[in-house]
């Protein structure tokens, strides 16, 4: 059913529980729809005028339908009590402790996601709206000693795999929605409020690409818009033995030209940045392009990235 529904890959610890409820409800829906549908069609055919000149004033006399209704009600009750409410209370709104998690602040604005890491000291520096400027979109107060090692990025969220992630969401201007479909995370970001959301990624970006890879038919000028197919799972060689495309390379126009020249019409590829933050709440004219990239890394890679970025962002 999950495949049939076309749910995207799920790379978080709690995602299966959400998917499970989606799948169960869709089974219920399918059952009801098919059941009713069969009855419906059968009735229409059997009681058409040409076959049934005279109607029966009363019609159905059995009470089966009442039992059916009760059964649906019971089933819905079970869904609620057995799945939906527990998942909400044990997963969605049961937060890990801060010691037990990587804490990140995300500040939404029209039309970008500002990410704020506390740096090595693990303490967030002060932010002040009066300091907000072009190159300090967070309004981070660099004179605050604990802010010195803080790291800020725009539209780029790096996270370690298999660790609880606790995100504090705020918005500078209007309501946005922090949605990461591949993690089954979505949380409205409401100005004037700090709302937390948490999850635990279970796959790194590399693993995700690995499992998402599929064959794409290529043709000239047909690279999917805004998304570069990359990371061919195996390299592609030209007839003279030179490498056209190596694992991890982008499939560019150029490459496609070369491949086509070599008579290759399909590549095995996956999206370069499969994991993304999609703003899910209308937030103005740039709502459609309020996209952030999420990179899930191994713990070591993540530490490395932090260290490098900290250097790079030295003020």
């Amino acid at each position: 059913m999950k495949e049939f529904l076309g749910l995207p890959l799920d790379a978080s610890a709690h995602g299966t529980q959400i998917d499970q409820i989606i799948v169960i409800t869709h089974w219920l829906m399918l059952l009801l729809f098919v059941g009713w549908g069969v009855f419906f069609i059968y009735t229409l055919v059997r009681f058409r005028k040409s076959r049934q000149q005279q109607a029966d004033h009363v019609g159905v006399r059995s009470h089966a339908s009442s039992y059916l209704e009760v059964a649906i009600a019971v089933f819905e009750g079970a869904l609620l009590v057995g799945f939906a409410i527990p998942v909400w209370s044990n997963v969605v709104s049961a937060f890990p402790s801060e010691q037990d998690a990587l804490v990140v602040h995300v500040v939404a604005e029209q039309f970008a996601w500002n990410v704020h890491y506390p740096g090595v000291d693990g303490v967030f520096g002060k932010r002040d709206i009066n300091l907000i400027s072009e190159d300090n979109p967070l309004g981070l107060d660099r004179s605050d000693p604990v802010a010195e090692d803080d790291i800020a990025t725009i539209n780029q969220l790096n996270l370690p795999v298999n660790k609880n992630i606790l995100i504090y969401l705020t918005s500078k201007d209007v309501i946005h929605s922090f949605g990461i479909p591949l993690l089954r995370v979505k949380q409205d970001v409401i100005p004037g409020q700090t709302i937390r959301v948490w999850f635990r990624p279970t796959m790194t970006n590399d693993q995700i690409r690995e499992s998402m890879a599929k064959r794409y038919t290529i043709s000239r000028g047909q690279i999917p818009e805004g998304l570069v197919l990359s990371v061919a799972m195996d390299g592609y060689q030209a007839s003279d033995g030179s490498l056209i495309l190596e694992k991890g390379d982008y499939v560019t126009e150029d490459v496609i030209e070369q491949l086509i020249a070599e008579g290759i019409s399909e590549v095995n590829a996956a999206p370069d940045t499969p994991m993304e933050i999609a703003c899910a709440q209308l937030c103005g004219l740039g709502h459609y392009r309020m996209r952030g990239t999420v990179t899930i890394q191994t713990a070591e890679e993540f530490e490395e990235w932090l260290a490098e970025d900290a250097e790079y962002l030295e003020w």
Partner: protein, 100 residues
Amino acid sequence: MDLTHADNVKKSVKAYIMVFVALMALTIVTVAISTLHLSVRAAIVVALFIATIKAGLVASYFMHLISERKLIYAALALTAIFFLVLMVLPVLHYLEPIGN
């Protein structure tokens, strides 16, 4: 009381005067209490209690709800329920943020 008869109306005029006196008295009481500067909680309870009595008097006598038809009662009961819902649920949402 059937208010379609002039005699009954005459009697009810007396009631109107009494209600008027009561409303005035309650107005004075509520203002007087407010000068005591009770704790916020107590002040709210007292003020709303008095206001409810006053409103009850106006509705029962001036608007003769006391002798109105069932149909009107039903409609107002329905309205009262939704009114309460509107007052209570948004605040509850506000007071119980995610993660508690």
